[in-house]
């Protein structure tokens, strides 16, 4: 039993590929096939949650699986940052699984077996990423994530979808190569690198110029998935994918893998001191600030709801990047907590977008006038999400922004505070009108109550409720707040 428990990180990672195999094997029996998805997601979430107390108590789970190359083993380690990401992804996978079934069946989509199997493999890669203990392990799972997401992006098989898939691959594979180069290079500098709070690279290992190049390469690697401008172009295009994919992968798993990578690189490869020394933090913060503002502006002009949400995602992700680049305690805490907060809020919005599309075939913002009368529950959830993203208390967006603001002040970056204010304003402008028009707009079309089926309506309501809880009491439940505090303490407290 003890050994079984000690291998928990491995079980967590392995639940999903096993599920994928079972899904493929149950190709002809849809109900059985979907039960595997649900079962795997619940088991995985429970397993992850079961590790939370130990992680909060400061216990270290480390598991060396097999050697990959000299100096690099495939090692899984559970630390507070990885735990945050794993918790978010696994909890939301449960909800998304239910939603997926509702969505795919409502639309009578084809190729569902491949869809569920790829989805499971994506979660596998996400969990692997969350628990990766060294750069090569990270790279392996990062590439698996790329490949598993590709069929989901191209799922519709239309020429447009196939093109989106190509674009996605072009961006992410190039990013993977940048990362491969960086990791290979690091391997020639130090024998057995592994992620360490406070970083393992410093100027005693390589000259600053080399470190800057390495930093840029790694940032190119993770920045593509994190949607940092100008590497973001794949993200809006990939919105062609079925909505549950956009919801979980393009708001939670894939893009969060990117920002998670940013946090790993800044906090666990370089560390605050080295970043200051080689002077890369301000450029990174500037790019993030630029992304925040510009993508918000672009979001304003999008009529397609999913595209608008995509640009909103691009903008919100850069909050996390900004928080990491500020190198201040409050900023980093805000970053980590925003991984969770944004995930819950944005998945709500995507769930609603999908429900509206699957149920009433509405995908444009301009067609949503009065839709709240037909679908009050889902649009109610949307409103919660919109308010939350805009950062209005008591929703969690406020918590992240507040601390991010304090972080900007701690780092003496008044400019960044200004960026946050402007962006909050823009968020209000691009999300509020949708909610407002949904309930108060005049419409001939939506006159009577016509809510989506339960599998589509319940998940957004649930995640909206969860968002409210996260906003009011960030310290309960999955305790993201405590996890974030621990990450900050370990990274900025001079290492543990």
């Amino acid at each position: 039993m003890e050994t079984l428990l000690a291998y928990r990180p491995l079980w967590i990672v392995l639940v999903t590929p096993i599920a994928a195999a079972l899904i493929v094997a149950s190709d002809r029996r849809p109900n059985l096939r979907e039960s595997w998805t649900i079962l795997a997601s619940v088991v995985q979430a429970l397993l992850v949650a079961s590790m939370l107390p130990a992680v909060l108590a400061g216990e270290d789970f480390e598991l060396t699986l097999l050697p990959l190359a000299s100096g690099f083993d495939l090692v899984l380690r559970v630390d507070p940052l990885g735990m945050t990401f794993a918790l978010v992804a696994s909890i939301l996978w449960v909800v998304t699984s239910v939603y997926s079934i509702g969505y795919m069946r409502a639309l009578d989509e084809k190729h569902q077996t491949g869809y569920y199997a790829s989805f499971a493999v994506c979660i596998f890669a996400t969990m692997g990423l969350a628990f990766s203990a060294n750069p090569l392990t990270f790279l392996v799972f990062y590439e698996v994530l790329t490949i598993a997401t590709y069929p989901l992006v191209a799922h519709k098989r239309t020429p447009e979808a196939v093109r989106a898939g190509r674009k996605y691959l072009a961006y992410t594979l190039s990013a993977g190569l940048a990362m491969l180069l960086a990791v290979g290079w690091i391997q020639t500098l130090i024998p057995a690198p592994s992620f360490r709070p406070g970083g393992f690279l410093d100027t005693s290992i390589a000259p600053p110029a080399t470190l800057v190049v390495l930093f840029v390469l790694l940032m190119l690697g993770v920045g593509v998935k994190a949607g940092v401008m100008p590497l973001h172009a794949w993200l809006p295009t990939a919105m062609i994918a079925p909505t549950p994919v956009s919801a979980l992968l393009h708001a939670v798993a894939v893009v969060k893998a990117g920002v998670f990578g940013v946090l790993r690189v800044t906090g666990f490869v370089f560390g605050a001191d080295t970043m200051r020394e080689i002077g890369v933090h301000l450029p990174l913060a500037t790019i993030a600030a630029f992304t925040i503002v510009v993508s918000s502006v672009i979001a304003l002009s999008q009529d397609n709801l999913k595209r608008r949400l995509a640009y909103s995602t691009v903008s919100q992700l850069s909050y996390i990047v900004l928080g990491a680049a500020l190198l201040s305690a409050a900023g980093l805490t805000a970053s980590v907590i925003h991984i969770a907060n944004h995930a819950f809020m944005k998945i709500t919005l995507f769930f609603v977008a999908g429900a509206v599309y699957a149920h009433l075939h509405v995908e444009k913002v301009s067609e949503m006038k009065g839709i709240g009368r037909a679908m009050p529950w889902t649009m109610g959830a949307f409103t919660v999400g919109a308010v939350g993203i805009a950062g209005i208390p008591p929703l969690p967006g406020f918590v992240s922004k507040w601390w991010l603001g304090i972080g900007a002040l701690q780092a003496e970056g008044i400019v960044f505070l200004l960026v946050l204010v402007v962006s909050a304003l823009l968020n209000v402008l691009y999300l509020f009108p949708i909610a407002w028009q949904a309930f108060f707009g005049k419409s001939e079309r939506f006159t009577r109550y016509d809510e989506a089926r339960l599998a589509l309506a319940v998940p957004p309501v649930l995640t909206a409720a969860a968002s409210i809880v996260l906003g009011i009491a960030p310290a309960i439940g999955p305790r993201f707040w405590d996890l974030a505090q621990r990450v900050t303490a370990s990274v900025l407290g001079g290492g543990s």
């Binding site: 990959l68 590439e143 698996v144 191209a154 190509r166 594979l173 190039s174 190569l177």
Partner: protein, 496 residues
């Protein structure tokens, strides 16, 4: 350690090859089982001797006729032989299983000749990688060449012409080799690898030694299809029977690479006893050009067979680039890639053979819905393709990893760029096939549906070898470190 195992492997194949035409006179049904048994026995013995090399840590030698080297001919299986010999026999066996139902009607009638040649070809290859004698190497080179021409010419109507071209260039290659060998013999008076290496020390940096080296390398360069000596390859691969090409593409060009390794590192001891010679620089540049040009030409093809043929031109570049780096990581990458690419390419060509046998064409633009019609074949193709692109956790990733690290260590940044860029080019042409097979419908709606329905499922004798290669590709990836630690490490000359 003295053992007769290396001779036994060669003898099994040789006598079985002689036996087949005789057996045919009595029982046509017995031909294939005997060929298969011989292939299996050879594979078993060579695997056993490989394990012996790993266990004892030293080379296995057998002195033919009991004559001690340097007077007699010596079979010498060191760590490189311990990789190459099982590689040849195992791939030969896999393709032999595949051959059962893929010879085609015309060849089936004279299958005893085909299998006889096939076993002789295998024998030549095994002898080539096991012999410790330079002239004996030439003998096996000719055995490989002569049987190879016949195996190629057995293909479709244009095959004899391709075989003729292959023969002209092959003869040229052998002549170059023989010339180089004559110089070496004149210089040292010996033919045994180890002995020649020891005697060369006196003649270090003489012009004769250098000229001999150049001749030897050009000879093997043609055999390896190193750009610009690759002209024989595309036609040969396109028009040969699918069985021939599945085996030849796996190991045919590799013997050239093997020869180059032997000349550079066993005989001339470059990097350890001799300074870097300009030949490695030239070879590196040619290899880099081969990688890029091969990939670009592959992108230009619409026929799957030809695409894979050009891809081979590119891939041999990886191997030779690794050898040209003259450092540990580079050689490791090169040797691993010999192994990995053999499995990938035989896998890919077997899939192609299966596709052509079912669709009647290999036009990769017209593979619509193939993913569903031939699930096992396309799944195998996918695994092999991901490996060709170099994505973890497949084998291709790890050879790429060592090559990148080796190039960084050697400070050869242009090569780093070439290796990474080539990954993307590989992605372009392999994902194009995957896209066609999984995401497009049939182009021709009139003939389509009956034809699609008429695709017969592949027999087990085809799906089993495909499955084996796919699994091998994954295992070679995840198990690459044990392989490096126990075998490849000893192939790298001590001191590098």
């Amino acid at each position: 350690m003295q053992t007769s195992a290396p001779v036994v492997v060669v003898a099994i194949l040789f006598f079985a090859a002689l036996l087949l035409p005789v057996v045919r006179r009595f029982s046509a049904a017995a031909v294939y089982p005997i060929a298969l048994a011989a292939g299996a026995a050879a594979a078993a013995v060579s695997l056993w001797q490989a394990s012996l090399v790993i266990r004892t840590g030293g080379p296995l030698v057998s002195w033919l006729g009991g004559w001690e080297p340097p007077w007699g001919i010596e079979f010498r299986v060191d760590h490189l032989g311990a990789i190459m010999s099982p590689l040849v026999t195992v791939v030969s066996l896999i393709v032999l299983v595949f051959a059962r139902r893929n010879l085609g009607e015309r060849l089936e009638r004279r299958s005893h000749f085909f299998y006889s040649l096939y076993l002789l070809f295998t024998m030549g290859l095994v002898g080539f990688v096991q012999t410790g004698d330079l002239f004996n190497l030439y003998v096996f080179l000719e055995v490989i060449a002569l049987t190879g021409y016949a195996l190629v010419a057995a293909g479709e109507p244009r095959a004899p012409f391709a075989a003729f071209r292959y023969m002209i260039l092959g003869t040229l290659a052998a002549s170059f080799y023989l010339l180089g060998l004559a110089y070496l013999y004149g210089l040292t008076g010996s033919l045994n690898f180890v002995d020649v290496a020891a005697r060369l020390a006196e003649h270090q940096d003489t012009r004769t030694a250098f000229v001999a080296l150049a001749f030897l390398l050009v000879g093997f360069g043609i055999k390896a299809a190193l750009f610009p000596l690759h002209a024989w390859l595309p036609d040969t691969y396109s028009y040969s029977p699918s069985v021939t090409v599945a085996f030849m593409a796996a190991v045919g060009t590799k013997i050239g690479a093997y020869g180059i390794f032997r000349v550079l590192y066993t005989v001339y001891e470059i990097g350890t006893h001799r300074q870097h010679l300009p030949v490695t620089e030239v070879m590196g540049i040619l290899a880099a050009v081969a990688i890029v040009v091969g990939s670009i030409l592959a992108i230009a093809q619409t026929d799957l067979n030809r695409m894979l043929a050009y891809s081979s031109v590119s891939q041999i570049g990886y191997v030779l680039l690794g050898f040209s780096l003259v450092n540990s990581a580079g050689i490791t990458g090169g040797v691993l890639h010999v192994l990995n690419h053999a499995f990938m390419k035989s896998s890919l060509f077997m899939v192609t053979g299966a596709i052509v046998s079912r669709l009647g064409h290999g036009d990769l633009r017209r593979f619509g819905e193939l993913g569903r019609q031939m699930p096992v074949a396309m799944a195998t193709f996918t695994v092999a393709a991901l490996s060709m692109v170099g994505l973890p956790p497949t084998a291709g990733f790890f050879s790429k990893w060592y090559l990148v690290v080796g190039a960084i260590q050697a400070g050869k940044w242009p090569y780093v760029v070439v290796i990474l860029a080539s990954s993307l080019l590989n992605a372009v042409y392999f994902f194009r096939v995957l896209e066609s097979a999984y995401f497009t419908r049939r182009l021709d709606p009139t003939s389509a549906y009956e034809h699609v329905a008429a695709i017969r499922p592949l027999p087990l004798s085809v799906t089993a070898p495909l499955g084996v290669t796919a699994i091998a590709i994954l295992l070679l990836g995840l198990g690459s470190w044990p392989l490096v630690e126990h075998v490849v490490r000893f192939i790298v000359p001590a001191g590098l």
